[in-house]
Structure formats: structure tokens, C-alpha cells
């Protein structure tokens, strides 16, 4: 049995260096240095609006930094052109917080369009494989339905299924359990755990402490555009940083 490398030995798969980003007057990220290790399940946490989505979208080139550098596997991301970015996103796939399913297609077609484009399959072949993918996640029944007929939780699962059709090595999930009932949230957590155990690097934006405890290898805690903690999970829960402690305890008073 070959042991997987310990956390200290794992390489960073993605890094941001001195990242700054502002939208008009609003300075969202004010100097962020973070690296995400390969094969880890990293949670990006913090109160709403601190820039978690903005940070993570830089990794797939959906946003370009004002200042700073973004690396994926030691290659600069922020200077890539659109065509190269498309290639990157096949390996590192970002799933939006809102389901963003294509409502002009059925659920099955939402997944099969990805297969059609990237594996040059015919429509029938792609549809068949899409159905298999959906069934693996327990969503097979929804195949012929329109996205609007599904609950939010189900839509989120479909959007993840759609992303998984690319077979990426890194999956970024933006607040996957927000707005879900506890049962659906648990199912999603299980999926995240399973994918990570299968070798996929997971980056999850979430403020769900239960999920963090259960799944995270590492935690990145953002507050007002700056990183307050970045490291293994036990250290996060035991941190002496007042902001982190406040967040962990769910207290109302304080910086957060």
C-alpha cells in the first residue's frame, strides 16, 4: 500500500500572490497570499461579502486581478487569453453558487452539452453518458425535466454533475450547501468527501462549520479582503486570532 503524501509534503496546485481587486470604490481583496495544496480538500470560509467568490474566481480566470499574480500548477493564469483559459477550465472547474443551469435545455441536455463539446460525441451518445452520470448521483429521474421544475438543492446537484462531466482534477464549489435543507446538505458533503478521496482536489467556499469539521484538510479564513488564517483544520479551530475565534464560536460581537 503506497501511502499518499502527508499534508506537509503535498505541492500547491494553485497559488495567488499579493492579490488585490477592487470593484469601483469597493476594495474587495487587499493583498491576499494563499496556496492551495494538491489533493486536499480546502475550505474557504469567512462572513458574507468578504471576497471568497472573488478570490476563487481568479483561479479560473473569470476575474483578472488589479495587482498580483495567479498560478495554477506554476503557470500564470491571469495573463492567459480566452482560448488558453478554456483549456484550463477543463482541468480546474468552477461551479457557481446559483445553479445557472441552461433553462433552454432539459437537465439531461445540460450535462450532455458539456460531453458533446469536449469529447466530440454525437447527441445520442452524449445524452446516454449524461444519463449515466446523473444516475450515479441519484438524479437520473430528472433527466427529461426542465431545470425550473427542480428544487434548488436538486439544481445544485445537477450543476455539479455537469461540472463533473469534464472530469477535472480540481473542482471549485461556491457555497454548495447554502440554502439547502440539512438532508440535502449532508448528501452534498458526502459527495465532496467521496470525490476528494478519489483524488480530486476540492476547493469549497462555505461558512458551514459542520462541513468544515467533517471534510476539510485545510481552511482559508478571509475577513475584509485579508487572510486571517490559512492552514490545517485543527489549527483553524484552535486559532488564537480573535476574528477566527469569533467566527468559530458563532458570536455576534467582534470584528466579524
Amino acid at each position: 500500500m503506497i501511502q499518499p503524501p502527508s499534508r506537509e509534503e503535498r505541492n500547491p496546485i494553485a497559488r495567488v500572490v499579493k492579490l488585490e481587486k477592487a470593484f469601483g470604490e469597493n476594495r474587495v481583496l487587499t493583498g491576499v497570499d494563499v496556496s492551495f495544496c494538491e489533493g486536499c480538500c480546502t475550505f474557504v470560509a469567512g462572513p458574507s461579502g468578504t471576497g471568497k467568490s472573488v478570490l476563487v474566481r481568479h483561479l479560473v480566470g473569470l476575474i483578472k486581478p488589479d495587482v498580483g499574480e495567479v498560478y495554477y500548477r506554476d503557470k500564470r493564469v491571469d495573463t492567459l487569453n480566452e482560448a488558453a483559459l478554456l483549456k484550463l477550465r477543463k482541468r480546474c472547474t468552477y461551479v457557481f453558487q446559483h445553479p445557472t443551469l441552461f433553462d433552454s435545455m432539459t437537465v439531461k441536455e445540460n450535462v450532455s452539452v458539456v460531453l458533446r463539446h469536449h469529447y466530440h460525441l454525437s447527441k445520442d451518445q452524449a445524452d446516454a453518458r449524461a444519463l449515466v452520470q446523473l444516475e450515479k448521483m441519484g438524479l437520473g429521474d430528472f433527466g427529461p425535466q426542465s431545470p425550473n421544475q427542480l428544487s434548488t438543492g436538486q439544481q445544485k446537484m445537477v450543476s455539479i454533475a455537469r461540472a463533473l462531466a469534464l472530469e477535472p482534477e480540481t473542482l471549485i464549489l461556491d457555497e454548495p450547501t447554502t440554502g439547502l435543507d440539512p438532508y440535502a446538505a449532508r448528501q452534498l458533503d458526502e459527495l465532496v468527501g467521496k470525490l476528494n478521496q478519489g483524488g480530486m482536489t476540492m476547493l469549497v467556499i462555505s461558512h458551514d462549520l459542520r462541513s468544515i469539521r467533517r471534510l476539510a484538510d485545510e481552511v482559508v479564513f478571509l475577513l475584509q479582503g485579508k487572510v486571517r488564517y490559512s492552514g490545517p483544520t485543527p489549527g483553524f479551530f484552535g486559532s488564537t486570532d480573535p476574528a477566527v475565534r469569533q467566527f468559530v464560536r458563532g458570536e455576534v460581537d467582534g470584528e466579524v
Binding site: V60, L86, R89, T93, Y94, H98, S104, R116, A163, L166
Partner: protein, 259 residues
């Protein structure tokens, strides 16, 4: 002096718009070579855009044929030149009114629709989702529609020409009591093929205009429902302007070239 600044702003807006239009055109053309676009989507759009527009084109063309002949009735009664009625009716439909009016009706149905669809997708982040899934929105959304629009409009214009002439013939015969035999003869004597050809060139050009304008407005939507409404409005206005401008330019060049 406020009107000066608003003219200045208006000019800047127009240049920005024209720039955007040419940029879209360039990107569409670049995505056509090599022609790697979604053929399933192309077939789907050919059906939605082409086949489903047939009824409205037939109706418009037929009605326009009626109008053309009715309007020339005065000259016929004055001069007894039934041939003239046929010539004007037929020829005008083929090379002029046909492409322009069918283009306008088509731009309403297809162009406005495309802007609305693209705009809604932008607002609901579906376009970003495509990019995040490593699918190029140009090749997936825009290019299939571009090809479908141009091909459909050319074919629909042919269909429209036929029905326009039929409408004119019917009116000549039933309402104006002009023998339709002489109508057909006069029609055949005029240079039909030439006029048909310029009509088709116009149709193809209008198709390009409709596609480029609707794409530019659609992807530029900002601001939710209100933004979509504004984009559709801007799209149809710009398309109409573009169609008539190019109509004139093509007509002028055609005659210059000895058509």
C-alpha cells in the same frame, strides 16, 4: 450648452456601438474558420429560426404583393399600361420591397428574440457558466445562430418573392380585373433573374446585420429585466437602420456595376 454635450455623448455612444458591432463581426468570422461549431445547435436553430418563420414571411410577402399592385392601380387606369403594373409589382417585390420588409419582419422575430435570449442568459450568469465549463459562448451560442439566420433569410426571401408575386397576381386579377396572363408575360419580360440575385445578396447582408446587431446588444445587457428590455429596443432600432442603409448602398453599387 447642454445640448452640445449631449451631442458629444451621443457621438461617443454611436462610435462605441459601431466599434462593438465590428468587434462582434470579427469574432464571429474568426470562429467560422475553422468551422468548428455545434452542428446539433445549428440544426436546432435552423428549425426554430427558419422553418418557424415561414408562416409570417408568407403572410407578409403576400400582403405586400397586394399592396404593391393596388398602389400601381392608379397608373394603370391612367395609362392603360397593365404591363407596367406587372413590372413594378413583380420587380419591386423581388429586388426591393421583398428583402427589406422580410428583413424587417425577420429582424423582429429573430433578432429581438436572440437579444432577449442572450441578454437573459447574461443576467442569470448562464454565459459565465458556459465559460466556466470551458465552452466558448461564440461557438456554441452565436455562430450556429449566425449561420442559421443568414441561410434562413436567403431561403425565406425566395419563398417570400414567390408569394409576393402570387399576392400581386391575385390582386391584379380579382380586384383590378387585369388579365393575369398579361401580368405573367410582363413579369417574364422584365429581367427577373438579375433582380432576384440582387434581392438575395441583400437578404444575406441583412442576415449578417441582424445577427451581429442582436449578438452585440444581447451580450452587452446590464441591469436585469430593464436592461433586457432596453437591449431589445436598441437592437431592433439599430437593425432597421442598418438594413435600410445597406439596402441603399447595395442598390447603388449594383446599378453602378451595371445591374
Amino acid at each position: 450648452m447642454q445640448w452640445v454635450s449631449s451631442i458629444g455623448k451621443g457621438t461617443l455612444d454611436i462610435t462605441e456601438l459601431i466599434g462593438g458591432l465590428f468587434l462582434t463581426l470579427a469574432r464571429v468570422l474568426r470562429s467560422l474558420v475553422p468551422p468548428r461549431f455545434d452542428t446539433y445547435e445549428l440544426r436546432r436553430q435552423l428549425y426554430i429560426i427558419g422553418v418557424r418563420s415561414i408562416p409570417i414571411v408568407i403572410l407578409t410577402a403576400f400582403v405586400v404583393g397586394i399592396i404593391m399592385v393596388v398602389q400601381t392601380a392608379t397608373y394603370v387606369h391612367k395609362t392603360g399600361a397593365t404591363g407596367f403594373a406587372a413590372a413594378v409589382g413583380g420587380v419591386a417585390v423581388l429586388s426591393e420591397i421583398g428583402p427589406a420588409l422580410i428583413g424587417i419582419m425577420f429582424s423582429g422575430r429573430v433578432g429581438a428574440n436572440a437579444t432577449a435570449e442572450f441578454g437573459t442568459m447574461v443576467v442569470s450568469e448562464q454565459v459565465d457558466a458556459l465559460k466556466a465549463l470551458a465552452i466558448d459562448p461564440m461557438r456554441f451560442l452565436v455562430v450556429p445562430r449566425f449561420v442559421a439566420i443568414v441561410v434562413s433569410l436567403v431561403l425565406l426571401t425566395v419563398i417570400g418573392d414567390v408569394f409576393g408575386i402570387l399576392g400581386g397576381m391575385a390582386t391584379s386579377h380579382f380586384v383590378l380585373h387585369i388579365d393575369w396572363q398579361s401580368f405573367v408575360n410582363a413579369l417574364l419580360e422584365s429581367e427577373l433573374l438579375d433582380e432576384l440575385l440582387v434581392g438575395l445578396i441583400k437578404a444575406a447582408t441583412f442576415g449578417v446585420v441582424i445577427s451581429v446587431v442582436s449578438t452585440t446588444y444581447g451580450f452587452g445587457v446590464k441591469g436585469g429585466a430593464r436592461g433586457v428590455g432596453r437591449a431589445v429596443n436598441g437592437c431592433v432600432v439599430t437593425t432597421a437602420l442598418g438594413i435600410f442603409m445597406l439596402d441603399y448602398v447595395i442598390t447603388y453599387l449594383w446599378f453602378l456595376w451595371g445591374g
